[in-house]
């Protein structure tokens, strides 16, 4: 066993920190501090994406030949840690974390040539069209239909929980192309070059936190070319499962973000009087709770580091589901602790103050501004990307004894 702490790594850390201290614009920094979801404010997030692209750091987890950085595990973690310390907006996962890696793995040469570079450059943003009103956890029951017609498909139906579809210019989606055999067998994976084909309509859904993060997408006789298909017709389920490995397995480590939430909670707790005297930070119960949370986050970090290094732990078939379950539940626990520290100061609804560039002074601290929206939004983490009930079903299937 070996962990390196070479002097070059500290030089690398300094280089990364220096870049994060100087490269982001004030609006990007504000967006980072006001991020209350896994999905950062879109406009500033994409500006930051393009700055990172120029630097060559936009996709550390991609293979080098496709634009990755070729960093070691240590370097990737240092990058993630410095990124979070600087409170910068996380890059959106749909393009860089899902469809990009999928195409690298199993796309045609034409698809790679056409789509990968605009993803890296931040010119394209892809929406993910999976869930439907009647197909959530039971995704394979989806019914949005695509009929072959010459070189095209004609799509009818709808998709829901399509994050940021109202910001996207392209979309990847699952459609039903056959009703024969098992429900998984009649699904096809499609890439849509545009999100404004005639017959497509996008309606944002306002979430419980007050933001229109999710969308519903309607299709009425929408004609799209068959060349956008990934894999074979009716074999889209295996394509989707492959992509889920990236979605749930995560090319980027989540633990530095979670540790950052704890740092912010500690800083706020040190300024918050405790009803038992002193500050909340001095309170034994708070110390016990944040200590346990940080220990759990540390374990996730260890899990992530082992996985990135190629340890056998990541070859467990339950790895993506375990990673998703642990990560999603820790986000929720961290946000609960944050709202506890905020107390009544988290109850004000401050949508304008949260908007980047609004120049509206928050009522309390910036911590109190974000804690409740983060808590509310993070109720989704155990629902999306396969609910945690589905994940536990999948994990349990791998526990069959010796």
């Amino acid at each position: 066993m070996k962990i390196e702490f070479a002097p070059e790594l500290e030089a690398f850390r300094a280089e990364v920190a220096e870049f994060f201290a100087t490269a982001p614009t004030p609006a990007i920094r504000e967006a980072g501090r006001k991020t209350t979801s896994v999905f950062a404010p879109f406009k500033e997030c994409m500006e930051w994406h393009r700055i990172l692209y120029e630097k060559g750091w936009v996709a550390p987890h991609w293979p080098v030949e496709y634009g990755g950085t070729g960093w070691s595990v240590e370097q990737r973690f240092i990058f993630a840690e410095e990124y979070r310390k600087a409170d910068l907006p996380p890059l959106l996962p749909q393009s860089l974390g899902m469809v990009g890696p999928l195409l690298i793995d199993i796309g045609t040469e034409e698809q790679k040539a056409k789509y990968l570079e605009p993803i890296l450059k931040g010119e394209d943003f892809w929406a993910q069209g999976y869930s439907e009103p009647n197909s959530g956890s039971d995704l394979a029951s989806l019914s949005c239909r695509a009929e072959p017609d010459g070189d095209d498909y004609i799509i009818n139906g709808s998709k829901i929980w399509t994050t940021y579809a109202h910001h996207a210019n392209r979309m990847f989606m699952l459609v039903r192309t056959s009703n024969e055999g098992k429900k998984q067998q009649g699904i096809t994976f499609l890439l849509l070059d545009r999100i404004d084909y005639p017959g497509m309509e996008i309606r944002p859904i306002v979430g419980l936190d007050g933001f229109p993060e999710q969308c519903e997408v309607f299709f009425e006789d929408v004609r799209v070319p068959q060349s956008g298909r990934v894999g074979e017709e009716n074999d889209g389920w295996s394509v989707a499962k492959h992509l889920l490995k990236h979605e749930r397995g995560g090319g980027n480590a989540a633990s530095p973000t979670l540790m950052r939430y704890c740092e912010r909670a500690r800083a706020a707790a040190a300024k918050t009087p405790s009803p038992f005297g002193g500050t909340v930070a001095d309170d034994a119960v708070f110390q016990r709770e944040i200590g346990e949370l940080e220990a759990d986050i540390a374990s996730l970090g260890h899990f992530e580091k082992l996985a990135i290094s190629g340890h056998e732990i990541a070859r467990d078939p339950a790895f993506p589901s375990m990673n998703k379950t642990i990560n999603s539940e820790l986000v929720q626990r961290a946000s609960v602790l944050m709202t506890q520290v905020s107390g009544v100061d988290g109850l004000a609804r401050q949508l304008e103050a949260l908007r980047v560039g609004s120049n509206v002074e928050p009522l309390g601290s910036e911590f109190d501004l974000v804690s409740m929206p983060l808590y509310l939004n993070s109720r989704a983490t155990t629902i999306y990307a396969g609910s945690n009930e589905v994940q536990r079903d999948l994990i349990a299937r791998t526990v069959s004894g010796s």
Binding site: K2, E4, R288, G291, A295, I395
Partner: protein, 363 residues
């Protein structure tokens, strides 16, 4: 970064694993626990032959110059087989305390530990959970070869059977913690022996002005010895957790109620999933912390995180295993309850998870 066991470590695991499977299965272990012997002299001799007793000591001291990851490699198997021999106390704790001392008598004891000829107990706990060296209250009078010890140490594994005891006590009022060597049978020494819930021979040992030899040790050395022991004990706990996940998974797929295996019920399936998640988290933290310690970079916070996580998660896995087994999980006959009791003991010694989480939270 490389977190995998080396080929040599894998070979050691294979060898020790084969021996334990053959000679230390659950039935054999229970026979041993229920016998009058405090542990198996045969197994101890086998451990000596595998080099386990020599592993952590330097080559100059007759050891093998092994690393902490070498110890973790086989300690997981000790946990899987619920090994009761006093490896932690005699080799990792007392042995390391003796080895770091320049004292001539201490070197002789190390040689005897390495050969398997002697077992030395380690006296640390003072009751009510002595979680760290800084909480040790027992104070030695005098120093060097003419120190005297008075007070009580509890849960001294092998305390009534060992050839000597290494005691952690303060050097005079308010002094730093240091190690003291006491020979078995010394005047004023009294051991009240018992068996622990996890099948080990232990004793509460009282010291009434007992003659002792001070083994010089820096505070850092004391801390490192305790930290290494926590890592090895955690490896045992993780091995026990892995065994429980496998045993419980198998049981849930064979045990039928309402005409179907109970694993088909979602409430049961999800508990199995949570057991696997807990085990995986604990193992990831064990391996990472071992690698940190091997690089000399493990901080007290890292050790507290490991101890807290393994304690909490181990307890949860044990309780889930009993619940999944239902009535038979409550029996002495099945191994399940014995794994759980081992995990409870691992959580409780050197500070339980509540203590360590609060230490982490205090920053």
């Amino acid at each position: 970064m490389d977190f995998s066991f080396t080929d040599e470590q894998q070979m050691l695991r294979d060898g020790v694993g084969k021996f334990l499977e053959k000679s230390y299965d659950f039935d054999a272990r229970q026979k041993l626990v229920n016998s009058d012997a405090p542990w198996s002299a045969d197994a101890w001799q086998q451990f000596a032959e595998f080099g386990l007793l020599a592993l952590p000591f330097s080559e100059e001291q007759g050891g093998l110059g092994g690393s902490i990851s070498d110890c973790v490699a086989f300690a997981e198997l000790f946990g899987r087989h619920l090994v009761i021999e006093p490896y932690l106390g005699s080799v990792m704790l007392a042995g390391s305390a003796l080895a770091q001392s320049g004292h001539a008598a201490a070197q002789e004891w190390v040689e005897r530990i390495v050969s398997g000829e002697a077992v030395v107990a380690f006296a640390f706990e003072e009751g009510h959970g002595t979680a760290s060296p800084e909480l040790v209250a027992m104070t030695a009078q005098g120093s060097g070869n003419s120190a005297r010890l008075t007070g009580e140490k509890r849960l001294v594994h092998g305390g009534a059977d060992a050839d000597a005891i290494v005691v952690l006590a303060r050097k005079g009022e308010g002094g730093p913690p240091a190690f003291f060597l006491v020979e078995a049978g010394a005047d004023g020494l009294d051991a009240r022996a018992y068996t622990t819930i996890d099948g080990r021979s232990a004793a509460n040992v009282s010291f009434n002005d007992v003659a002792a030899t001070e083994l010089e040790a820096s505070e850092e050395a004391v801390e490192k010895i305790i930290a290494d022991a926590i890592i090895v004990q955690s490896a045992e706990a993780v091995g026990a957790m892995g065994a429980l996940v496998a045993i419980t998974g198998e049981y849930a797929h064979t045990r039928k109620q309402f005409g179907v295996p109970i694993a088909t019920f979602q409430a049961v399936a999800h508990r199995l999933a949570d057991m696997k998640i807990a085990y995986t988290k604990a193992r990831a933290t064990l391996i990472y912390t071992t690698a940190l310690a091997e690089s000399g970079a493990a901080t007290p916070r890292d050790i507290a995180i490991l101890k807290g996580q393994v304690g909490k998660l181990g307890r949860a896995v044990g309780e889930a295993a009993i619940q999944t087994h239902g009535g038979v999980g409550m029996t002495d006959e099945l191994s399940v309850s014995h794994y759980h009791k081992r995990l409870l003991a691992c959580d409780t010694t050197f500070g339980d998870h509540a203590y360590h989480f609060r230490k982490v939270g205090m920053g």
